[in-house]
């Protein structure tokens, strides 16, 4: 296909690179301190000096253990073409001793053009292996045993490991045992006689550093100058890549991605997705590509399920969550309906649905596995009466509601008091949708000192234009007389904001407090929200009071 589009060709080239571990790990192994050179040093000394060795390669999955080993073995095979034999086993396949010996014998036979008998017994195989080890040792041929998923071999009597490592103790053999494992404690799993024969050499594969990632990105993404691509295209493409990688937004994105999983393999997957969404017409990568790749890799299916719910379904979910917060351990559809009615009564919403409609929504939620029956028993009961449970957490519900397209404001309020209050704060700050007039909020505080210490009053005021918002931290709020020494601009900005004590029963043990907002235009005034740490809110004295207060919210 000579008349291929250069963009397509570039895409194929980069994809091919991403799938080729030798290409990826070659630049990472250049320095003398890298795992490649460490491993190569050990293996090549046993090739040249004829001494036995055993090494463990440790690191998380996808950190390039096997790839680096392949590189080393490949290079050694080139350097010493006739004196290296590779025998590779995998713990997932050959963890059973008999099977492992058979496989080793088979690979040895393949390597030396001998006839392998499937019928050979365990004894014969092991004798054959010992004999082969001796022969190879005499001929100065090194056998490299690669045991992938090394921890799987360390089960049971560990006969294979014992016989391999015991063979390392004799002068006649010339072999290296390389174990690859993601378990950090792989050598602790060994029986003690096996551990004693193991040489305690471990090479740790750590995630690449920032500089290494930068150079890796450049290595992977930039097109070669001396190729069949049009020269203008190459320079344009590379320029664009340089722009993207030096962009701080890209760096932030990369950082969020690497904060979750920083192995080389996951990075490759990320880049692969980004490259695959490249615009073929322009033939250039853009920052958008990486953005979509990131969002497609960090999907949250449950959140998406909540986001796609209808409003009625959201109501039901919130009701269930409210019931859970009230520490009602088991509830069914009927009790959820009761809660729904309470919410509806207190907020006077116009959208009240009949019970059969709700039941359908309920079934729908159950089919999507957002909720489920709490227990498998009692299948004879009608669905309404069986106890239910939520399958999503509070924070997921909240995030889902926040990102919902048309979630009614009244729904957020009943769910306030159960959400973690720090997240509530972010909720207020970020979304204009919540500028709903909440008139008052009672808070009972157990003691003065705790109030001082913990209560963190945050005022978020939205003034008539709904744009100038600010949040204040009234830490020096005094409860007794309610004089607050705040920054002067706070006192100036909302002239109609006043906070008065609600009840004057100045019992030092229990104070009731009312944050009251006076405003000439009730719909313009925002709310006052008193935030307390979760420990305070979940205290038993407070909870019923708050609940009562919320349900009795003034019209």
């Amino acid at each position: 296909m000579g008349n291929e589009n250069p963009a397509e060709k570039a895409l194929n080239l980069i994809r091919g690179r991403l799938c080729d571990p030798t290409f990826v790990f070659r630049p990472l192994s250049a320095s003398s301190d890298s795992n490649y050179s460490k491993l190569k040093f050990i293996v090549s000394t046993s090739v040249t000096e004829g001494c036995n060795n055993s090494i463990l390669l440790l690191g998380p999955r996808g950190s390039g253990k096997a790839a680096v080993l392949d590189l080393v073995v490949g290079d050694l095979m080139e350097e010493y073409p006739d004196s290296v034999t590779l025998i590779s086993l995998n713990g997932l396949l050959h963890s059973e001793d008999n099977c492992a010996f058979k496989e080793i014998a088979r690979q040895l036979c393949m390597e030396h053009h001998l006839l392998f008998s499937k019928m050979a017994s365990f004894d014969e195989n092991s004798q054959f292996i010992i004999a082969m080890l001796r022969e190879c040792g005499l001929a100065h041929k090194t056998i490299i045993f690669v045991l992938d998923e090394f921890d799987m071999f360390a089960q049971g009597k560990q006969r294979l490991l014992y016989s391999l490592l015991d063979a390392m103790q004799s002068v006649t053999s010339q072999a290296v045992v390389v174990g690859i494992s993601s378990r950090l404690d792989a050598d602790q799993l060994l029986e003690k006689r096996v551990r004693s024969r193991f040489s305690h050499r471990k090479i740790l594969f750590l995630p690449p550093s920032r500089e290494e990632i930068d150079s890796l990105l450049e290595h992977l993404l930039s097109l070669p100058a001396d190729s069949s691509f049009p020269s203008g295209y190459v320079s344009q493409f590379n320029e664009k890549i340089k722009n993207i990688t030096s962009d701080t937004r890209f760096k932030d994105m990369l950082k969020t991605f690497l904060n979750a999983n920083s192995t080389v393999n996951s990075l490759l997957k990320f880049i692969f997705r980004a490259v695959s969404s490249m615009n073929l017409e322009s033939g250039l990568l853009s920052l958008e590509n990486f953005k979509t790749a990131l969002s497609s890799m960090q999907r949250q299916p449950k959140l998406e399920a909540v986001r796609d719910c209808s409003i009625l379904e959201l109501y039901l979910l919130v009701c269930m969550r409210r019931l859970e917060v009230k520490e009602q351990s088991s509830y069914n559809f009927i009790s959820v309906m009761k809660e729904y009615k309470t919410i509806h009564d207190s907020f006077q919403t116009s959208d009240f649905y009949a019970q059969n409609v709700c039941l359908r929504a309920f079934e729908h939620l159950r089919e999507r596995e957002v909720i489920c029956y709490a227990e498998n028993r009692g299948q004879s009961q009608a669905g309404e009466y069986r106890s239910m449970k939520l399958l999503i957490s509070a924070s997921e519900l909240h995030q889902g509601m926040r990102s919902h397209a048309c979630c009614p404001v009244s729904l957020h309020f009943p769910s306030f008091y159960f959400c973690q209050l720090t997240s509530l704060a972010t909720l207020f700050r970020t979304s204009l949708q919540f500028c709903y007039a909440v008139r008052f909020l009672h808070l009972s505080v157990t003691s003065m000192s705790r109030w001082r210490e913990y209560v963190n009053l945050r005022l978020t005021c939205s003034i008539s234009d709904y744009k100038q918002r600010s949040s204040y931290n009234l830490q020096d709020l005094q409860v007794g007389n309610f004089i607050y020494n705040t920054q002067p601009h706070l006192i100036k900005s909302p002239p109609d904001l006043r906070i008065t004590p609600y009840a004057k029963n100045c019992d030092s043990q229990q104070r009731h407090l009312n944050a009251h907002i006076n405003s000439p235009h009730p719909d313009q005034i925002s709310y006052v929200c008193v935030l307390a740490p979760r420990s305070l809110l979940s205290s038993p004295t407070l909870q019923p009071h708050l609940v009562a207060c919320l349900t009795n919210a003034p019209r």
């Binding site: 001494c51 998380p60 103790q169 004799s170 002068v171 920083s262 949250q300 720090t422």
Partner: protein, 494 residues
Amino acid sequence: MPTIAGSEKSECIETPRKRKLRSEEVSLLSEDTISTPKKLKSRQRIAVSNLRTPDKEVKQDSHENLAVDSLSDCLGSESRDEDQMRAVKEALHVSKAPSTIVCREDEHRRVFEFVKGCLDQQKAGSLYICGCPGTGKSLSIEKVVKQVGDWSKQACLPPVDTLSVNCTSLTKTADIFSKILEIVEPVKEDNCYSSPLHRLQSLFSQKQDSSSRMMLIIADEMDFLITKDRGVLHDLFMLTIFPFSTCILIGVANAIDLADRFLPKLKSLNCKPMVITFPAYSKDQILRILQERLMVLPYVAFQSNALELCARKVAAASGDMRKALSVCRSAIEILEIDIRGSPGPESQGPTPDNPVVRMDHMTAALSKTFMSPVVDTIQTLPQHQQIIICSAAKAFRGSKKDATIGELNKLYLEICKSRVISPAGITEFTNMCTVLNDQGILKFDQARGNKLKRVSLRVDESDITFALQELSSVRRTSSLQWKTSCAKNSRAKM
């Protein structure tokens, strides 16, 4: 033994120090006269070090002198370092069996006496040897076998048949009897009607012709013979108490009480095997063995305090000789890399004339061998995984041993919020937990539901705190940066 060993020990400790001092003197001298070729130097030093060493050593050293002459004559000074290294490494490799056994004289003698006694009286007997791995059991036995062969030749006794079996190589535990039978009865008779064990038992219970030879059976890693009913092990030891048995059985294993635990019946028959225990090597013994191995070399490869450090550390950990050897070998390798890394233009002047493993090399090698990779790994984990580990450590601080993934996620979210880090979703959270589980940092229990899986912590909490404390200073700045970038983002959105 202790008295003799004591005097020897003190010598052994002293001599290398002396040597070292002298070598330093020599090197000082040689720096003045830069042009002195290396081989001259080394010979000089040996000559000096010969002055006050005991006669035995002098003899050896004179040997070595010859060796050095021949060695250094045929080699240029360039490749000499490498060859020295290679020789040292070879001398320290586990596969190289030492010519004489030191520090095991007593045990060796007892085993030999036992075998000799049995052979003298033409009587069967059993012996059980136990000890930790790497304490020289198999090595001593090998030597005993050789010695017994020599001795029986001298004493004009009929030669002894020897059967050494490593029990790990047996497919079925009962195969050991057929192996014994092969030796007792080399001419295979038609005995398919009875098992090898029965055949042996009947052989040993009848009077045999006088020409029958004694047989030495050595069963290494004997605990592989333990079966559910302990039949094989029991039968094996019972072979030695038949009236006309010719077996001398030597069992070797790690467990100290194997005979007591698994062979109670033998005790009641009053034929319990004699037990010889190989204790773990002490610091002095390890030091002595290492020196003995290095004695073969014509030059000082290790600083004496480096060797002592290694011996101390290994003796304190396990007393495993193999480990001590491997530590020394990796110290040499570190030195080798050091040398290989440093040379280049200024290789003539400042490079140490004779590469010696110093304390720092040894400490590096020791930490490489003994340090667990957990701390390093935790320090380099991605941020979110570190937070997960943190929350797990927090959760399991008390008496609690495990929690469900849901509970762990709650804690994780709390930490994220307190640090103003946007948390990862539950799917990603589970993925990260799986990654940690793969690495053996967390452990999942088998359960069906994803969220109901129980998680427990596999690494020590102190490891985690140590790892994260070191990071915390770095973290503080990075989280600040993170916060500012967050603020920027939100401002941008507004």
